[in-house]
Symmetry: C2
């Protein structure tokens, strides 16, 4: 008799965004006339940039002709894309990252879920609290998180790094030593950023302890302040302790196009094994590459034309972020983020829980946000709004919130 | 100090096709004038069908317009594609499979590698020998295969189902009871097929034992004989014991487009848990859907125009298969497959090992094939040729082999 993976059964409830979708659906069935504004899930709304559209049309045509047809892609991604990323992303930042250290994938969600596979089950992970739920959930599924306590809403074998107003949503080094450290800056959900010096502390710590940092830089394109690093490889010594996850979803609106990549420097060795070789083996055995058409789309993002166009999109979203942040503050809310990230993180008014405020906002303002508690116990009493709506909707949503 | 996944280190050597690529590269560097013909890896050569190209252009245009832009796809796939598959694939076969039992993915390689995650580590798997290497390798990586013996080339915790000329490459029920049974028909690499009655024996066995069959039907489009099932759900009782993996790579040439799907009937329950819910959770947590453009491409395969075009492609490849099979037989080889599959499986001449014959064919005929031993110890002394080349190259390759 086959045995199921019992670790899956330990996961409490649904994936956060499925839960929100369910609540919204019920509300909409009851209030068909309502004009709902969604500032909840981090999905973009602007169409794909013209330079990228053009590149995809060209690639589609190539696939339709015998002479230019492309079958199986190289496991780790086409050289044209890996070379482009090495030069235009890391070269431009002055980071020493080579094309063959870049693994192209179908997106940062897959990579952030799959990366834990190359590590043994007997590792202890550390995560910021609150945090993007995929890090913890995928470690639960692998049997690495221990047991869940309904009381504390924490997993017994996870080290939580509290991020709250007191520490400006930047975690301090933990007392217990973790093996794997998930960091995400600019942060989802709090929108906070770290300076290069602050990140250097973590790099030095990981090198000293033999830990590995999994650095999620999905939101780096939204950084507007100086001295906030776009990549962990801007820190000295990161090549021997850090894996970086990157996404095209937020910097080029690829949420429905699907493209991302992971960087593992060849100098990152643990127990005598290069982690690069393990991830290469996983890619080679369980994955068959991102579609040729989509890899050409990714390449087009880094043309001069493409860069100009996606930067305009980001500026559009960051104008929204400003509207939200300033609007909330003028309405008396305590709110942060929105300066180096498309997320605004606000304190719920009075003693409202995150889900109470979700219901309140849905009911009274017909605005959908994300309850902070969905990102971990440390998010209780907080709420996330995203800058990915249209400008008009964003202004309207804030007006409604001000009128509450 | 972080610990790596030691199971990865147990894998001997490289992924089969990486090894072949390396050998071919060395040969080409030594013999730059040689006119190499590749009938090794199962990659298609015909361009994507015009109906599919048209659908992709349309979808690319939609992504470039605000009104028709698509962000995150539904985790499990767009309804338009799932409904099409339910009707055009399973409805047409008379199989009771519903749209919400179909999970769209980026291909059958990913799914056949990832599906084992929903099962506990303490399950025993059974595989045909020889077999597509991904089934065993991914179970090794998960710690489910036990230890490797260099002598027998077998894993201690894997049940091997021998497939040889004696049993016409159709496995018999094993003596020890497996929990998970991987079956692939039409078979890769042997090209053999099973009748509906033969497959029914396995379905009945799995239901009796509480095992689960993972049925890889990637090559079903190549079936030409009657009474060979295209889906395991043509067998009675398969809804309570079988998961089916499907690919667009071979039926529509999508090796570089990337699209596949997995079917898990809601009636498939083990230990009180519906496997459907576990796979849904995995998809929701570790995956973000196939690109909108690619899902529209998949839908176009099932239009009348698309079907006519892809059937022509398959006929083209099957003409190649006939050339190979008949050519080899007339040259005195013992060869099978090629009737319901794009693979021809031949006995190496004399006492040559698979790799000796690989080198011999490369050196003397400049033809690349795949050594049977790469598919498991039972493949030793055999060799695989594929029908995915051009007609002209296929004819030329067989002429060269005849002249040896």
């Amino acid at each position: 008799m086959v045995k199921v993976n019992e670790n899956f059964l330990k996961l409490p409830g649904n994936y956060l965004f499925s839960e929100i979708a369910k609540k919204v659906k019920i509300f909409q069935e009851k209030h068909r006339e309502s004009n709902l504004i969604r500032l909840g899930i981090g999905d973009v709304t602007l169409p794909i940039a013209p330079a990228v559209i053009e590149a995809m049309h060209k690639a589609v045509d190539e696939m339709g002709q015998k002479e230019s047809f492309h079958g199986y892609a190289p496991d780790l991604g086409y050289e044209f894309l890996r070379n482009t990323i090495a030069k235009k992303v890391y070269g431009a930042l002055g980071c020493e990252i080579f094309a063959d250290e870049i693994f192209v994938s179908d997106g940062a969600k897959s990579d952030s879920g799959n990366i834990q596979e190359i590590f043994g089950v007997d590792n202890r992970i550390a995560v910021c609290d609150p945090v993007y739920p995929v890090y913890v959930d995928t470690n639960v599924m692998a049997g690495r998180a221990g047991e869940y306590s309904k009381e504390t809403e924490q997993w017994s074998n996870v080290i939580y790094l509290p991020c709250s107003a007191e520490n400006h949503f930047v975690p301090e080094l933990p007392k217990e030593t973790p093996d794997l450290i998930y960091l995400c800056f600019p942060n989802n959900p709090t929108g906070s950023a770290v300076t290069k010096d602050q990140l250097q502390v973590w790099v030095d710590y990981a090198n000293k302890m033999g830990s590995v940092i999994i650095y999620d830089a999905a939101y780096e394109a939204y950084i507007t302040e100086e001295n906030v690093p776009h990549s962990i490889y801007e820190c000295e010594g990161a090549r021997t302790c850090a894996i970086e996850l990157r996404s095209f979803s937020k910097n080029a609106g690829f949420t429905g196009v699907r493209l991302g990549y992971t960087v593992i420097p060849k100098d990152l060795v643990r127990g005598g094994v290069a982690l690069h070789s393990l991830w290469a083996r996983r890619h080679g055995t369980k994955y068959n590459g991102a579609p040729y058409i989509i890899q050409r789309a990714g390449e087009a993002v880094y043309t001069d034309e493409g860069q100009a166009q996606v930067k305009e999109q980001i500026a559009y979203y960051m104008r929204n972020a400003k509207v939200i942040l300033e609007g909330l503050k003028s309405a008396g809310f305590s709110a942060t983020g929105g300066v180096n990230a498309p997320y605004i993180w606000l304190k719920t008014p009075g003693s409202m829980t995150s889900w109470e405020f979700f219901d309140y906002l849905l009911e009274k303002a017909n605005v959908v946000g994300t309850p902070g508690s969905g990102f971990g116990p440390g998010g209780e009493g907080y709420f996330r709004l995203t800058a990915f709506g249209t400008y008009e909707n964003t202004v309207e949503a804030i007006e409604r919130i001000k009128r509450l």
